[in-house]
């Protein structure tokens, strides 16, 4: 399952950040990401409290999130804990396409969290997939709350959620920046 190249094959913690290739402004994004990582590492120490926020999901994301504290995944061994109180939370895991009727509740929850705080947009709906913006929904979390981390998936499995949380606190360097999702030599062309 794994090869000697940790930047391509899954499930290896990279010792350092994988240098991102591709996309415009890659260096600027890298600098921003680096600053975020440093800030989180210095300010949060080794444990985080997580509050979840459902802005209109189909309920599958919530089921995967609940399994994080189940025996197979045991979030607590990594130093993460769920808390119902936004006032005690460091990290907000947001699911759903941000239904407009939910805006006020979403802002109140976010505003009740003291800084420093991280918003993790969780699942395809929260990232802008599944629903396009219209009268019912913003279409992504970004319409209302400033996201710091994005976790793809529909729903993201508990393993993907674990990976996302560890990215959020820089315990696991981000791998997806270095992936091109294109195969063959020509994939390198045209990506500045």
């Amino acid at each position: 399952m794994t090869t000697s190249d940790p930047s391509i094959h899954p499930q290896r913690t990279a010792a350092g950040a994988t240098p991102p290739e591709g996309g415009p402004d890659a260096h600027e994004e890298q600098a921003t990401a680096e600053l975020l990582r440093q800030r989180i590492a210095s300010q949060f120490g080794r444990s985080l409290h997580i509050r979840t926020l459902d802005t209109g999901s189909c309920a599958a994301c919530e089921q995967e999130i609940r399994l994080l504290t189940a025996p197979h995944y045991d979030l607590h061994r990594l130093g993460f804990f769920f808390t119902p109180a936004p006032r005690h939370a460091d990290l907000l895991m947001v699911t759903g396409p941000m239904i407009r009727a939910f805006d006020i509740a979403a802002r109140k929850t976010y505003d009740a969290m003291p800084g420093p705080k991280i918003v993790v947009a969780t699942g395809a709906c929260a990232l802008g997939g599944v629903y396009q913006p219209d009268a019912f929904v913003h279409g992504s979390v970004g319409g209302v709350l400033p996201a710091d981390v994005w976790i793809p998936g529909c729903p993201p499995s508990p393993l993907a959620l674990l990976h996302g949380l560890l990215v959020a606190v820089d315990r696991l360097a981000e791998k997806v920046a270095g992936l091109s999702f294109a195969s063959d030599d020509r994939a390198g062309e045209g990506l500045q």
């Binding site: 509050r51 979840t52 209109g56 599958a60 609940r66 189940a70 407009r100 009727a101 109140k108 219209d134």
Partner: protein, 511 residues
Amino acid sequence: MTAVQPGASGTLASLIGAISGASLAETGSTVTVKVPAAELEGAVHHLAAAGARLADLFAAGQDPTVLRLVWALDAERQYLVMQSDVSGQEYPPLSDVAPAAFAEECEIYEQFGIRPASGKPLNRVALPPHAGPDFPRLGHQPPQAPAEIHAPHTVGGHAFEFPFGPVRQVGVESLYYGLVTSGEEIVDLYLFTWHKHRGLEWRLRGQAPRDALFHVERTEGLSAIAVSWAFAAAVEAALGVAPPPAAQRTRAVALELERLYNHAAATAALCQATGLTVGQSAAEIALERLLRLNAAAFGHRYLFGVMDVGGVRRAPEEAALRAGLRGARSELRRAADALASTNSFLDRLEAAGIVTGEQARRLGLVGPVARAAGLAIDARKDQPAQPYLEFPPAVAIRGSGDVLARFQVMQDEAAESVRLIGDLLDAGAGAGTASLPGAGGSGLGWAESSRGEALAWVALDADGRISRARLRPASVRNWRGFDDACRSQNVFTDIPIIEASFWLTVAGTAR
């Protein structure tokens, strides 16, 4: 243990006889009866008196708006769609005769602007408060906004109302409760779900049915198979198409897997609500094994992407499924057996959240909630479509209607699901899709989800695109029983226990 009381051998025949101007059409096994608006109240009386179960009420179209009632004639193994043109803004008061229709009357008013003639106040249930004239609706805007608060209640002694939510405990869906209490006892409980309204039915208009499946299965993600099966079956009924038998068996394998993991999840939620962490862990181990089984068998932990219109997109990985099923099943059974021997757990469940058979019948409840109250209703048995005609399930019934009875029904159903999966695999579960004619029509589809009967009704235009899709997951039916279950003799700490035993979703009702 009672079933519906059928009118002689022909509820249908007697209905047609009793209603002047009624005309009848058959699409597959579903009968549609057109009833003139003036006769609608009488027709509803007739069916309610005959003990028919009101399964859904919805509207379609504008000028005129057509009201449709879906009745389940369980004894005759048939659905009846009663339709009536409503010209003007009013129609006869149906929920006075069939209380099961009240929430739907409210929804129809918000979406179509037509209301029952009795002048009874209607609540806001479906659309958010800011929904002005430009807000997307399926029909006309209502002339007056519906009431913003729950209908007034009378309480002996002092009571206060406290709003709870929509942001609640961690890891559960957003849901707003209005809790009316005199301190500890629950006097009344009402729910608002409009903050999770994504407008699914509005969104599906104009789509090709196959494309629509992507959103349909995400209506209630934990019932992806059941809701998408009901929808696919509605389209197939409209087009007169039947999936290949091997594909029908695959659908049932997926549906039973969905039932299994939901019942495991409900068991875990019950343990969490009662504070039994060891039980919760044991049930979660079973749940995780079942979800991994889904991924191994069908490529997705929640079985998204399996259903197709006319069949299924893929067959199960049979070897992996057989190999994993036994272990996952015994994991769940051992957890349930241990729970059944844990008095501290059973004490919290017994006599909590009682829904009587009478309440279940009056409100048209479905699924384990109804079966635990003694109603022998299960769409797999009552309106059997293939493959359940060939593989009928044993229906689990209890009589006490409390949380314990619902827990027991779920465990019995889990055992039955495992048996069914084995039998279906033995008969051969394959892939394949019947080709669809590009034509119009309308049809009703259904499937028994883990929460109960899920219904869908679809109208296709001449190009085969959706002109109206009605999606009615079981959650739409059963949340109204939650109020009754929480009231009287229950206290705050019982609410999560009762909620776990219903195991509904907000997404499925708010759509």
